[in-house]
């Protein structure tokens, strides 16, 4: 796949009422969970373009899920819909009573996808998990995902259980965008080197408008953190606060944001700041005022390096592949 290609076609499919438009609105259009009640049914296909990480544009095709539409997608519009797809996101409603029929439709979609874009990634979200009692969630989710895998032909499918009412939605979508970012290895290599230099417990890169985790690096000590879903929870926490800030400073959630956040506690120090045009960097370093200030200073230096690169016209500052070792890592003060 050509990594420089900037537009990625993302198909969002699933049965009518399964929650496709709801989650799209929450992740990309700054809705809060209770606002999605206002959404009506999606008619035919709704196209939207989402800029993500500067050099990547997601071309989101939200396909209405009523049976009549489904039939046209699979028949007359087949080549139009299914060609050139980078990602198919298929949403299952956990509460659905016609599991077999859902699976048949899913299988038909997979068939069509195999025909026109055999290299696409497939993600299946088992949605509305909040409606299942907590003690049964894991079991039901596993049963369902085995069933899904058995109907997925040769595609390697990633499944996520999700709900718009908690952080699981962020986990699922972070997993999805993680697969889409073109120069991820370069970014990750830089972050690893950087986090070693500043001796951070954890470095997380968040996308600016969605607050989805782009990627993260965790040190050996940081790995011991018993809370595994912390990244999604952070997305959730910060996005909720962004909404609050927007509400109270009379702006739209899209234009609200943070310039910088410092937090010092006896157990950890956290720095959150704008990194490149489209990302926030989130540092967790052990307590120690001097070490913390040093880490922040280094982050600023690295950021300058990136903005220089960005000014030189390389989109977001993150160098595009083929591998170019980011020079900024060498110029760090320590």
């Amino acid at each position: 796949m050509d990594a420089r290609k900037k537009k990625r076609k993302v198909l969002l499919m699933g049965k009518s009422g399964s929650g496709k438009s709801s989650m799209r609105s929450i992740i990309f259009s700054n809705y809060v969970a209770k606002d999605v009640r206002r959404l009506g049914a999606t008619i035919d296909v709704e196209h939207s373009h989402v800029k993500f990480m500067g050099n990547l544009t997601l071309n989101l095709w939200d396909c209405g899920g009523q049976d009549a539409f489904m039939e046209t997608y699979l028949a007359s519009q087949r080549s139009n819909i299914f060609s050139d797809v980078a990602v198919l996101i298929y949403v299952f409603d956990i509460e659905s009573r016609e599991v077999d029929r859902d699976m048949d439709t899913y299988n038909a979609v997979i068939e069509a996808l195999r025909e026109f874009s055999p290299n696409a990634y497939v993600f299946c979200l088992v949605h509305k998990m909040d409606l299942i009692q907590a003690e049964h969630r894991q079991r039901i989710y596993e049963e369902r995902s085995t069933l899904i895998r058995s109907r997925s032909e040769h595609f390697r499918v990633d499944t996520f259980g999700s709900s718009i009412w908690d952080q699981s939605l962020y986990k699922a979508w972070a997993g999805i965008v993680h697969k889409l970012i073109p120069n991820l290895t370069v970014i990750e290599r830089f972050l690893t080197a950087f986090s070693k230099k500043i001796d951070a417990e954890e470095v997380i890169l968040f996308e600016r408008s969605t607050f989805l985790t782009v990627t993260s690096v965790t040190s050996e000590v940081g790995e011991l953190n018993p809370i595994y879903d912390r990244h999604e929870r952070l997305s959730n926490i910060m996005k909720a606060f962004k909404h609050c800030a927007a509400r109270n400073t009379l702006t739209t959630p899209a234009s609200a944001g943070f310039v910088v956040m410092h937090t010092k506690t006896p157990q950890f120090n956290i720095f959150l700041g704008r990194f490149t045009d489209n990302t926030y960097i989130f540092l967790v370093v052990p307590p120690g005022e001097a070490a913390y200030n040093c880490a922040v200073l280094n982050t600023m230096l690295a950021r300058e390096g990136f903005s220089k690169l960005a000014a030189a016209g390389r989109s977001d500052g993150f160098p595009l592949p083929p591998p170019e070792t980011p020079e900024e890592t060498n110029g760090l003060a320590s």
């Binding site: 006896p266 157990q267 001097a290």
Partner: protein, 388 residues
């Protein structure tokens, strides 16, 4: 006598310097004295009745002054939202989950251990506590405030009538009690209707009270809803009236805010997110929401990264109290500083230059912290010495 002096403390009372302080001192006693335990035991049974022969004037012997916990009573008709309020404010329950709360059948007593210890008693709406079988002394004896909840979406005439009866009884024996009326569930009303309801209720109560000869009864009214911040705001006001050194605190905060150019400053109780004092500028709901949500952010993030492990070592010296600030897109800065175990100071600064002067702001806040701890601790230390 523990409670009524607290109210007087805000007026010019010769006793002002030591009486209220004895009561705040209980905050810092981590153990329970035997007197306190027996007092609690005494308060546990609402139905033990019959023991009301004690003269009402000699309330509790002075030796128990240290153990006095101000008490908040939540009263009102059934299904007016008392338990929901208690759960949302004191147990951090998400508002939409209060739908599933069972109706309260006996008095629910919550002890809140925070910057000052107090009790919250949640009364079942159907309980006829004015009947002679109830010991009024037990219920109202060490009372700080009576919070009466009225469902504004329902027919409130019955509730108003009952409230009036209660006020008249309570006023007779315990004139020092604050009566706070929460006109509740106003989220469902339109703005205009809300104002009308408010005025109507206020009118009815004050009319009836003045008919009965009480011209200026200490009754305050609040419009509340658990779905926004109004119930926290209202509770903050209720609690503030019970804090003996409120004016000192407000003065301190005013000085700090003026010198640092803070737009608005709140001293929050972290657990309940009630603010116990703020500067005396007008309340700005937007600032309050942001400050209150920012505490949430810090508490939630702390939860994610405060794990203990022997391999996790600090890399150097650091001040023991948490400190945090965030700069928003429009240059507004929210500054948070932990004051002690229970309290934190949150300020909103709208001056873009504040970023460069953070060192100065931090230092001023530390000075404030010392002063605050002085206010809370001195009387306690004095008493300890006196006892020893």
């Amino acid at each position: 006598m523990p409670f009524p002096p607290v109210r007087r403390s805000q007026s010019e009372d010769p006793d002002r310097d030591h009486l209220p302080n004895t009561y705040i001192s209980s905050t810092f006693s981590t153990y329970k004295t035997s007197a306190q335990l027996s007092l609690e035991k005494l308060l546990q049974g609402p139905n033990h009745g019959g023991g009301s022969t004690q003269p009402r004037s000699a309330l509790i012997p002075n030796t128990q002054a240290r153990d006095a916990k101000p008490r908040l009573l939540l009263m009102g008709l059934r299904r007016s939202g008392k338990s929901s309020i208690a759960s949302v404010v004191f147990h951090k329950m998400p508002p939409n989950e209060t739908l599933f709360l069972e109706s309260t059948t006996r008095i629910q007593k919550d002890s809140i251990h925070s910057f000052m210890d107090f009790q919250v008693w949640d009364f079942p709406g159907q309980l006829e506590y004015l009947e002679p079988s109830f010991d009024l002394e037990d219920i109202f004896g060490s009372l700080g405030a009576l919070v009466w909840v009225i469902d504004a979406q329902d027919d409130y005439l019955d509730s108003v009538a009952r409230l009036n009866r209660t006020i008249l009884t309570v006023q007779q024996y315990y004139p020092g009690i604050n009566i706070e009326v929460f006109i509740h569930k106003v989220d469902g009303l339109s703005d205009e209707y809300r104002t009308d309801t408010f005025q109507d209720i206020v009118q009815r109560i004050s009319d009836e009270l003045s008919d009965a000869g009480y011209e200026n009864a200490p009754v305050h009214y609040y419009l509340t809803s658990i779905y926004d911040y109004s119930v926290f705001e209202a509770f903050s006001k209720v609690i503030q009236k019970l804090i003996p050194n409120l004016s000192t605190l407000e003065n301190l905060i005013n000085t700090l805010a003026n010198n640092c150019g803070f737009e608005k400053t709140y001293l929050f109780d972290v657990l309940s997110k009630i603010y116990i004092a703020s500067d005396t500028r007008p309340v700005d709901m937007a600032c309050y929401e942001m400050c209150s949500d920012y505490i949430d952010v810090i508490v939630d993030i702390s939860e994610l990264y405060s794990w203990d492990h022997p391999d996790r070592r600090p890399k150097g010296e650091q001040i023991q109290e948490a400190e945090s600030h965030v700069v928003l897109h429009d240059e507004t800065m929210i500054h948070l500083m932990e004051m002690n175990k229970y309290l934190c100071l949150v300020s909103v600064i709208r001056n873009p230059e504040a970023k460069e002067k953070r060192g100065l702001i931090d230092m001023n806040c530390r000075t404030f912290q010392d002063a605050l701890n002085d206010v809370f601790s001195r009387s306690w230390e004095q008493e300890e010495q006196g006892n020893a």
